[in-house]
């Protein structure tokens, strides 16, 4: 039988159409295509893909089930390792993880593992209506802070091992960054809600509107009978550039811009939360968050969206797929550029002019790549006298975040590193007894799947500790 050298393409919405709607971009494999793609797996002996997965899903085994058209069987294999398959199948950077290790990928294109995972999870959500089986309680109570990817993963693994788990969420909806950060067109919120609901059916309790460090402290969680606490509170305050004009109206952090659109639903017409729509938008940064912000701005009706990034396309950290999608949709990349000032409107004759203080442009400077820095990335060096102005109405700054101070400030004995990230051992244990942590609260801004991996490590340690 001839080997199919190429991965089956992911059907997507037409770029022109999708650039103006919030429906999901990638439409998912059909049943037939999924079975065909599954056939491409060689079932090699050393299973390198499993090692490439931060939560070590038994990838060849779920693909085996798929080959036999046992989709529910495939789901059960994935579900043993991942509590959020429909999420991971969409937002994981498979090209640098499982798929980058695939033996097929040495000569040809790797197996589309992420696309298959998504197919299996979506099929399960669509066709399997029976509630998951609850595990008998082992009598141990655990509190989890934050309902983002690390918290949900930790909760899932613990509840499946018999723990009584309560998840505390500061916002009004569970999901963390999956709800406030990642846009609808990349991860529909019904999918997050479904994954949360599965955990509820397994017995996980969710308490929203509970800010740990304020509403309750970690010490109080122990007083209430919890024997262990997992901190998955995520990344915190957005970084700004410290250039003139960052306080003009129309300058957003990516967190704010995305939260307004995603969590608060400002992308819908009938919504109480305002957001600047239309006009020209400059997004500063080159990560996945910058791509999400740029593509959101476009869908909100922007006539032009620019990405301004200080290095070249080679160094741009966002997933290739996201960059390609953004380019197809018409987002303009201004690479090797850095903003030096944000310009605002000022009517000297009328201090009450409603336009005063609103953004009118972003002055950028050209950069050249110099010597590699400590991380091996070539350092951008400004080209003097190369400034020019990009006219715009909105500037979104997506240059990372610093850890949230709330828990650190209210938990005695919790050690943090100089950047404010919580210090943990390999097992996810913090400097406080029975307090574990993982995800962005530890590492600073990273990926959904690495946070899930950390939630998994902590769950394993907690299970060990209470055996």
């Amino acid at each position: 039988m001839a080997i199919n050298e190429k991965m089956h393409a992911m059907p997507v919405q037409d770029p022109k159409v999708r650039a103006r709607n919030f429906n999901e971009v990638a439409l998912g494999y059909t049943h037939e295509v999924a079975l065909e793609e599954a056939k491409r797996c060689l079932h090699c002996k050393n299973r390198p893909c499993v090692e490439g997965c931060p939560v070590n899903i038994s990838i060849p085994d779920f693909i085996s089930c798929l080959k036999q058209d046992d989709i529910e069987g495939a789901y059960e294999v994935i579900n043993k390792s991942s509590s959020l398959p429909a999420v991971c199948g969409r937002v994981c950077p498979q090209e640098t993880q499982c798929e980058s290790r695939c033996t097929m990928g040495i000569k040809f294109e790797p197996v589309g593992i992420g696309r298959l995972e998504r197919f299996v999870a979506d099929w399960h959500n669509e066709n399997c209506k029976k509630a998951p089986k609850k595990v008998t309680s082992n009598g141990h109570k655990v509190a989890i802070i934050g309902s983002g990817p690390s918290g949900l993963t930790c909760a899932g693994d613990l509840v499946k091992a018999g723990f009584e788990v309560t998840v505390y969420e500061a916002l009004h909806t569970p999901g963390g960054v999956l709800v406030y950060g990642i846009p609808e067109f990349r991860l529909p919120k019904t999918i997050v809600a479904k994954e949360v609901n599965t955990l509820k059916e397994l017995g996980v309790a969710f308490v929203t509107n509970a800010v740990i460090g304020k509403t309750l402290t970690i010490d109080e969680l122990f007083e209430q009978g919890n024997e262990a606490v997992f901190i998955g509170s995520g990344a915190g305050l957005p970084n700004f550039m410290g250039i003139p004009g960052e306080s003009f109206k129309g300058v957003y952090s990516a967190n704010e811009f995305l939260t307004r659109s995603n969590l608060m639903k400002a992308f819908r017409d009938k919504c109480d939360t305002p957001i600047m729509k239309g006009g020209k938008v400059v997004v500063v940064g080159g990560g996945n968050v910058a791509m999400d912000a740029a593509r959101t701005a476009l869908r909100l009706g922007a006539e032009k969206v620019y990405i301004v990034y200080r290095r070249s396309m080679t160094e741009l950290p966002a997933r290739r797929e996201e960059v390609e999608h953004a380019e197809e949709e018409g987002i303009e990349f201004h690479l090797l550029r850095t903003p030096v000032e944000i310009l605002g409107y000022n009517n000297p004759d009328n201090p009450r002019d409603e336009r005063n203080g609103f953004v009118t442009g972003c002055k950028v400077m050209k950069m050249e790549l110099g010597e590699p820095d400590a991380k091996g990335r070539r350092r951008p060096v400004p080209v003097e006298g190369s400034e020019y102005v990009l006219d715009c109405d909105t500037v979104v700054i997506a240059i990372g975040t610093s850890p949230n101070p709330l828990i650190k400030n209210t938990t005695k004995g919790l050690e943090v590193n100089p950047h404010g990230g919580i210090i943990v051992t390999e097992d996810g244990l913090t400097s406080r007894k029975n307090v574990y942590a993982g995800g962005d609260a530890v590492t600073g801004a990273a990926t959904v799947i690495s946070a899930m991996g950390a939630g998994k490590v902590a769950a394993r340690s907690i299970i060990e500790a209470f055996k």
């Binding site: 608060m264 819908r268 109480d272 939360t273 409603e354 709330l406």
Partner: protein, 285 residues
């Protein structure tokens, strides 16, 4: 969902609600705030806590009807529910060790100034209060302030009640007369707090201002509530939700805060009109 335990109109534009939220009531201290959503899909708005009752688990909020969300909140009756209520957020007002303070409140800001005055009185701090309103109809909490203060001066902008003029007039007189305060704590419209700060400056009295910028999450995630402080010649960004809401007033860039506070005014005006029309229609039916 959070139950409304009581509702009281303090004046035609200001309403007081007590919300059942025992976890918040247990923790709240003067100067902290909550964030609420009235309905599913509603916006999140910050309101400073105006008082708590730990026995009943009630958290008191006092708000002015300025937009769509506060209009909707004002239509909620006793016994009904609001969607979300989270807190206490921000840091309490730092009143430790103060012997004599002057509290300057303006408009609905007086609702937030009152618990600070009460907390001061409770710990034995001598309180002088100056409260100002646009006119007699908008006056709130006069008796409560009287009870919490050694001395109370009430001002109205139009002279329709008590003394005519704004709050900086008696403040300046007191400072010129040599009255000593460990601190002036000011809560109210930004423009008032700016001028309180300018009035106090020549006398070298520390001034703390309570800031109430636009917020979304209120927990140090989104960065919407940022403001600029001038510290030792440097401009630094701070976040009202986790670094505040109280700041050294001499460092605050009030003009920038005023400009940022007006960002969504056209949007809010339209939303408020639409909401009012909806309520009107409902009444007609």
């Amino acid at each position: 969902m959070y139950r409304i335990l009581s509702r009281k109109e303090l004046n035609p534009t200001v309403t007081q609600l007590e919300i059942e939220a025992p976890l918040v009531a247990n923790k709240a201290k003067a100067g902290q705030f909550i964030i609420l959503r009235v309905t599913e899909d509603g916006e999140r708005i910050p309101l400073t806590i105006a008082g708590t009752d730990r026995k009943t688990g009630a958290v008191k909020i006092i708000f002015q009807i300025v937009g769509s969300t506060t209009e909707k909140l004002n239509h909620k009756k006793q016994g009904e529910f609001i969607q979300d209520f989270v807190g206490p957020l921000g840091n309490p007002t730092d009143i430790a060790g103060k012997k004599r303070v002057c509290i300057v409140g303006g408009g609905v800001g007086c609702a937030i100034a009152l618990p600070v005055a009460q907390a001061c009185k409770e710990q034995g701090t001598e309180v002088v209060s100056i409260i100002g309103f646009r006119n007699k109809d908008l006056l709130i909490l006069e008796d409560e302030f009287k009870a919490a203060s050694e001395k109370l001066v009430v001002m109205t902008d139009d002279g329709s009640y008590a003394r005519h003029g704004n709050v900086t007039v008696p403040l300046k007189e007191m400072l010129e007369a040599g009255e000593k305060f460990d601190e002036i704590i000011t809560i109210g419209p930004l423009i008032m707090m700016k001028f309180v700060t300018l009035t106090a400056k020549p006398f070298g009295v520390p001034v703390t201002a309570s800031m109430n910028p636009i917020m979304i999450d209120g927990t140090g995630m989104c960065g919407c509530c940022r403001l600029t402080l001038n510290q030792d010649g440097k401009r630094v960004t701070r976040f009202a939700c986790v670094d505040g809401p109280d700041f050294n007033a001499y460092e605050i860039d009030f003009d920038e805060a005023m400009s940022r506070g007006r960002m969504y005014i056209p949007f809010e005006r339209k939303a408020h009109e639409e909401t009012c029309n909806l309520f009107k229609k409902a009444e007609e039916v």
